[in-house]
Symmetry: C2
Amino acid sequence: MPDSDNKTVSAPRTKDRDGTEALLISAATAVLAETGFQGLGINTVARRAGCDKQLIYRYFGGLDGLIEALGTRLSTDLADALPPVGEPAASYADLMQRLASGLIAVLRCDALLQRIIVWELAAPSPLVAKLNAARSRALTTWMAAQRGDLAPPTGVDAPAMNAIIIAAVQHLVVSAQAKGVFAGLALESDADWDRLETAIGHMIQLVYGSR
Amino acid sequence: MPDSDNKTVSAPRTKDRDGTEALLISAATAVLAETGFQGLGINTVARRAGCDKQLIYRYFGGLDGLIEALGTRLSTDLADALPPVGEPAASYADLMQRLASGLIAVLRCDALLQRIIVWELAAPSPLVAKLNAARSRALTTWMAAQRGDLAPPTGVDAPAMNAIIIAAVQHLVVSAQAKGVFAGLALESDADWDRLETAIGHMIQLVYGSR
DNA sequence: ATCGCATATCACCGGTCGGTGACATTTGGC
DNA sequence: GCCAAATGTCACCGACCGGTGATATGCGAT
């Protein structure tokens, strides 16, 4: 019988709970990054991890618990992956420009973050809010580290302006992944993004520039 | 038996194909606006319309055809609902500021448009692209009518800048509907939005203003 | 009045979903 | 060696999904 080894061939069947948990979290992360929250179901994740869905219930109490665990691991992973702080920015305008470029770079090459962003837009829930909070927290502390003690110039509603900038960046990145174009602008090549970064930088200099 | 009238109570059972088609389109629109593309299924729409799902297949060839019909009706409805053009803007900056405010006003009170926007972000497909094209076309022609013959000042990458503005507006509106807050900024009351409009206007004046 | 046909409804199919109980297998303490 | 607990696997359930055939029902032309 050729399938007599189907017990041992299916790889690390060793009874290692921690390993299995990590495997499940990785599987959920992969599924989410690849197919979005739509395909994120108990059966899909278990199939992807190569083990039974029952383990998701046993170890995480269900899919929600698994997502939550994914969130905590995400925040640590993301904190490690972000580029370290360089030399301090010369001005608040330079700082914001650098942050905008950094945000674009990080978001553009991380499908998982993009999926989480649209997930909360499409199907908001306390669970996704937690997940998004983990993402947001990591990015915020990273930004705060870059900021140092620079303060925005007076006469500008900095929170509103920064919200606008971040919103634009997030929407453009997500739109690029979804349709590759936005408002008639191509968002495929790096050159397209350089053009956008230039425009954003221009805008930031005008708003926050010393004048 | 109290349910003896469940045959007649389901209202206009008259054999009117056009009426039924309109009923189905309205039902699909309502479902989409209320629960997003997630809940937009054959069974849900038919249940909402109060008739059998078979009719969706017969009249529209399936859910896709119904969505397409929804799209064509959307473009005409939207074109009629948009506010008429007022007196021409004094400058390109004023024009863009007015367009941004108008876009915010339109999007903020139209759940359907918001759902369509996130739909394409979450589950892009040729079908949704068509739907979105209908929406985009109506808004674009409306904007073009407002523009008249004003041209953006030289030295500014107007397409990129406008894409940034529109992206920011769309993302903020959709985020407001989903979570009521963005980047620490409350997006609930009209006052919150006035603040944002002021910031956007300020930015536009700096970028496009005569100086 | 009746016949034909478009319209509307019902019943049913296969498939997938989330969820759960029962069973098999390995590990570790005694 | 043995037993209990932890780990892993399988089978099954009810509910919902999209999709389709068969059947009722009413309108309009003749």
